[in-house]
């Protein structure tokens, strides 16, 4: 049970959490479309079939709705299912089982049973993923009582939070971002757990708080770098779990900085950014030096062509520009700065 560190990537971190927890707990099994194939969900389920056998790592027909019901039934039967979807968009086929059934099932049983269900799902982006492979939907799940919602940003969080999700006795929607799969940082080797409901300060700062989710933390950190050159120090707060939300951490940061920008990896309208903005505006009332601002996807379906995709997604430069507005600073020329596009890695086929 060492805490010795070494650099691994987000994908390996997810994979490691699964290996370690499945070795410990024979009730855990992973399943879903393509889960045991040679591509192993971008590598995140690698080795599970070989190590734990086809009873604990298996493929399914294409039927998201009924296999989600399957997960619920397996949990009722004392198992700990992990249902994996290669895109969040496909969960829209399973909303009845997730929202009508899973979320309220325990309530209808008087709260008596354990319902350890993990739904792992991946946000796509770039290279023409387009309107059917780019959704995020954290607000859909956070809106519903009875679901926990997790969005890890760093490899360390990916491992620690997935471990926590696998040990939780309640349904957890675990949303990963495809572009984060290549992120690398220090991750403890042994088992370790980050409790659900604890946010994380990714970077300390004094001048403004950015609350960011998933990939948007990468953009926020990059914006923080750009702003630091100007002597503006922003604090980047990653809630990590969307529900339950670590409101206290967010509020503490905003109390300190007096400014808050929410950069959510999703559409803005009725999204998680609205929830954070509403809470911050209410709870820090009178102590905010500027109105809470929000950034998210453009309010359009996600287009395929790159030049429109670039407009669709907010990025570090847009964050910088909004922060300049918020702080009353003159705009600066960022045209020389790069933007993330993962062109070289995330390209055709994909």
């Amino acid at each position: 049970m060492g805490f010795s560190m070494r650099k691994i990537d987000y994908c390996q971190a997810l994979n490691e959490a699964l290996h370690q927890e499945m070795a410990k707990n024979p009730d855990i099994f992973v399943f879903g479309i393509g889960v045991p194939d040679h591509k192993s969900v971008f590598g995140s389920t690698r080795g599970l079939l070989e190590t734990f056998g086809p009873d604990r790592c298996f493929d399914t027909p294409l039927c998201e709705d009924s296999m989600t019901g399957f997960a619920l039934g397996a949990a009722l039967g004392g198992m700990r299912p992990v249902h994996i979807h290669i895109r969040v968009d496909f969960l829209l086929l399973a909303m009845n089982q997730i929202v009508n059934m899973i979320a309220s099932y325990n309530y209808s049983l008087g709260g008596k049973v354990k319902l350890p269900i993990v739904i792992r799902t991946i946000i796509g982006r770039g290279w023409g993923q387009g309107m059917h492979h780019s959704k995020s939907l954290q607000s859909y799940f956070a809106h519903i009582p009875g679901l926990k919602v997790v969005m890890p940003t760093t490899p360390r969080d990916a491992k620690g939070l997935l471990t926590a999700a696998l040990r939780d006795n309640n349904p957890v929607i675990f949303i990963e971002h495809r572009w984060l799969y290549w992120a690398e940082n220090d991750v403890p080797e042994g088992e370790f757990l980050i409790p659900l409901g604890q946010g994380n300060i990714l970077r300390e700062g004094t001048d403004l708080t950015i609350v960011a989710t998933s990939w948007m933390n990468v953009e926020a950190l990059r914006a923080a770098d750009l702003l630091a050159k100007q002597g503006v120090y922003v604090e980047v707060v990653d809630p990590r779990t969307i529900a339950p939300l670590d409101e206290a951490l967010i509020l503490r940061s905003v109390e300190k900085t007096g400014h808050c920008l929410v950069a959510d990896n999703d559409w803005v309208e009725c999204g998680f950014s609205a929830e954070v903005a509403a809470r911050v505006a209410e709870k820090c009332f009178g102590r905010l030096k500027s109105p809470v601002r929000r950034l998210g996807f453009a309010h359009t379906p996600c287009p395929t062509v790159r030049c429109l995709e670039d407009e669709f997604y907010p990025n570090a430069k847009r964050i910088v520009a909004v922060i300049h507005e918020m702080l009353g600073l003159p705009p600066i020329d960022l045209s020389g700065e790069f933007s993330y596009s993962h062109e070289s890695r995330f390209k055709g086929p994909f």
Partner: protein
């Protein structure tokens, strides 16, 4: 009970009388939950649940009463739940549409048509993995087979050879819409039979036939032969939801109702006990009184419990260790 058919009759009688009490007391407006009555259809739940026995696991629909009572016989908590009392199955949170009693192998009912069918797959998978030998039974109506999740579930169960018994309670209608206005085929049994899933059908309304058929189905399942689909015709006596007769609405032909009334499952079984199984009527009457008394007591007891405390609202959303 020494007579083979008497236990079956008792369960039929229990289900029927519980609902007759509901009809009686519902107008007092103290059971504030929409009632989808099983009345008329009891032979399905009783025949199947009796064969499956207490180790079986049951999932059902909002038309929950007969399946619940036949499997759990938990009359006291049934009424406590319908009355929304603190000692109810879910402290009044679930009501008639979501009845469940995991301690007695009843894993839930649902207000969404067809939605418990896929749950049965996972429950059955868990039994297989944990080698419990238990069979999972899921009840659903002829409306549920219109839904995609039914088809997905048949495919998955057949593919994975899951120990599931699918029971289609075909009362011929989804609310007021007859099957023939909803089905682009003649026989669901012929279709399901093309999957790797054995099928049986029954339209006798005879609880013993249904029970025997279920036993055959169970032997296939228990031999590892995968899922079985039972298609059982039946007839709903009352309106889709509620305690009233609705023949005045004229969407169901009177002749058909008459035909079914003639083979009322309680009448059939009671006659058989007397005429074929040599049970004296007095024995039956005693049994009936006994059931009657137990129901009556359960209702009286239920009413004496209090409503849950408002703070209960926030409990049970997530699992709480005791």
């Amino acid at each position: 009970m020494s007579y083979p058919g008497l236990e079956l009759y008792k369960k039929l009688y229990l289900a029927r009388r519980c609902e007759e009490y509901i009809v009686k007391y519902y107008p007092q407006n103290d059971m504030k939950t929409p009632m989808h009555m099983s009345m008329g259809q009891e032979a399905v739940a009783v025949g199947v649940c009796h064969a499956v026995g207490s180790t079986g696991l049951v999932l059902a629909t909002y038309r929950s009463h007969a399946a619940f009572l036949a499997h759990t016989q938990n009359v006291p908590l049934f009424f406590s739940e319908l009355y929304g009392r603190v000692n109810g199955l879910a402290n009044g949170k679930s009501g008639s549409m979501h009845l469940a009693d995991p301690d007695h192998g009843h894993w839930g009912s649902s207000g969404i048509v067809a939605s418990t069918i896929p749950i049965a797959l996972g429950l059955a998978f868990a039994q297989k993995r944990k080698n419990t030998g238990a069979t999972t039974v899921v009840f659903f109506g002829d409306g549920a087979i219109d839904e995609g999740s039914f088809w997905e579930s048949i495919n998955v169960a057949a593919l994975m050879k899951l120990p599931v018994l699918f029971v289609c309670e075909d009362n011929g209608y989804a609310v007021h819409t007859p099957s023939k206005k909803r089905h682009g085929y003649d026989s669901i049994v012929d279709i399901v039979g093309q999957f790797r899933c054995a099928t049986f059908s029954d339209d006798s309304n005879d609880v013993e036939s249904i029970c025997n058929m279920t036993q055959q189905a169970l032997s296939i399942i228990q031999a590892g032969g995968g899922p079985v689909f039972l298609h059982i015709k039946c007839y709903r006596y009352l309106e889709h939801v509620g305690i009233n007769d609705d023949m005045k609405d004229a969407y169901r032909p009177v002749e058909i109702q008459e035909a079914w009334l003639k083979k009322d499952c309680l009448v059939l079984q009671r006659l058989r006990l007397i005429n074929e199984q040599g049970v004296e009527e007095i024995v039956i009457q005693q049994l009936e009184e006994q059931v009657e008394t137990s129901i009556h007591h359960s209702i009286v007891a239920a009413k004496q419990y209090s409503s849950p405390d408002p703070s209960q609202l926030f409990h049970g959303v997530f699992y709480e260790e005791n």
